[in-house]
């Protein structure tokens, strides 16, 4: 949305409508008092529902069934696509992830190179910073990981 689209007459009409809605539901107006009572009532009902053992048992059971159905469906789709030698949705998703991260990795590499160059040029200043009692900062060391690192 560009700044020119926010033209004054249109903005005014929409803003006036929203303001009216806000005023009608303000707790100090007559309509607002009714609205506030309805809001409080609904909140109480929903809070009771959210703590009801029956509701939790039923919704938990439905969720479990939904998740299990999804596991079966996903397995079937992936098996079918593999049989047809087509990329599966998870493989496409993986590729999209990899592309998204390249940008950040390049930026980080630049910062890391600057840091390294800085450290190579001023090793003695970093030595002088720490009192003798302190331990040396550990070197960043890689751990076995399936993710790409810079």
């Amino acid at each position: 949305m560009s700044q020119s689209d926010l033209s004054a007459p249109n903005k005014g009409l929409l803003a006036r409508g929203l303001k009216l809605l806000g005023q009608l539901t303000h707790p100090q107006t007559r309509t607002g008092k009714v609205f506030t009572r309805a809001e409080q009532g609904l909140t109480k009902v929903l809070a009771r529902l959210a703590e009801s053992p029956t509701y939790l048992r039923v919704s938990g059971g439905l969720m479990r069934q939904g998740f299990n159905a999804r596991i079966r469906r996903r397995g079937l789709v992936e098996r079918t696509l593999r049989t047809l030698r087509l990329p599966t949705p998870s493989e496409v998703e993986d590729l999209r992830d990899q592309l998204r991260r390249v940008n950040d990795q390049v930026e980080a590499l630049g910062t890391q190179l600057e840091t390294m160059v800085d450290l190579v040029h001023t090793p003695e200043s970093s030595e002088a910073d720490a009192p003798d009692s302190e331990t040396r900062a550990p070197r960043p060391k890689g751990r076995a990981s399936s993710t790409r690192r810079t």
């Binding site: 806000g22 909140t43 959210a50 998740f67 930026e107 980080a108 331990t135 550990p138 751990r143």
Partner: protein
Amino acid sequence: MTASTTQRLRSFVAGKLDLPRAVASVLKARPLNPYPYLKSIIEKASGVREPPISATPHTVVYTRGSMRLLRYASPRRRFRTPILFVYSLINRWYILDFLPGRSLIEHLTHAGYDVYAIDWGVPGKTEEHIDWEELLGGLIQTAVQWTLRVSKSRELTLYGYCMGGTMALAYTSLYPEGVRNLVAQATPVDFSKGGVYTLWTSAENFDVDSLVDAYGNVPTKVLESGFMMAAPVQRLTRWLEVCRRIDDPDFVTTFLAMERWGADPVPFPGEVYRQYIKDCYQQNLFPKAQMKVGEQHIDLGRIQCSVLNVIAEQDTIALPAMSEPLPSLVSSKDVETRRYPVGHIGLSASSKGATVVWPSIAAWIGARSKTMEP
């Protein structure tokens, strides 16, 4: 009809169609949060645009998978000891750098700290199998090491927020080297006191295995539905306040920034979630030194550095009762609990933050940090 008239007519029609188009594209995605539906209407009515994300200048220091380590360098660095923020895996880190003039990170950089923050990014397929061992000993440890290296310091202040606080405590108990101070802000420690969240995630009501097996990473809709259920009515009715104050650009900007952040959850890495729910919410092993990560147990009694336990008195997510036991669980001689009259998010983004909360926390950290040599 001249070309310029046609052009004007076309842009007028396009302008009128902008709002319906924006709403139609949201309806297609069908998010649970009202923000994407209402944002364009509020923007159109108020003339206020959504503020930029994390406006404080920063650079990316390190990346690994979806994780990025960000550096917010201080314009006038006074402290040698840097601060590393470990944020929760549920929402995005940028609540810590909310808005210019109302940002915890900006406040700390202006106070002279070299600040770093872990942005967990948007976990994808590669993050599905990350477990707590890789999270603590791989990702956080590497972030700590890079922070120390870039800031040219031997020690840092680890600053955990919400679930990030739980992770920071777990990390410090396993890898205490290099952690000089630990700030645990609105941090769940005793999960048996988690209110409705403990109830909803109990083993009888919630089958975490089938959820993780079905999705890999826990999808945002599942996480959002949980938060939606916690306050379903208020989630909608709070938009009425912005209708009343549509002429107040500051209020609208703050409101939109907050709602944008709330509507930006990320998928939760599946295996981390599985163990988090089982060991913390279902069995409460975390405060009992029984939660196992790799071959070791997370024993908070091994934490000996200075610890600040920050509690939001009106917190409805990490209830104060969840954080209160922390001082009795760590071995630190210098441990303090500070309570503030704000909510969970208010610690980082409310107007009280800049005047009441942050100066107090910054002073606590400052008294325990090394200063730069003249």
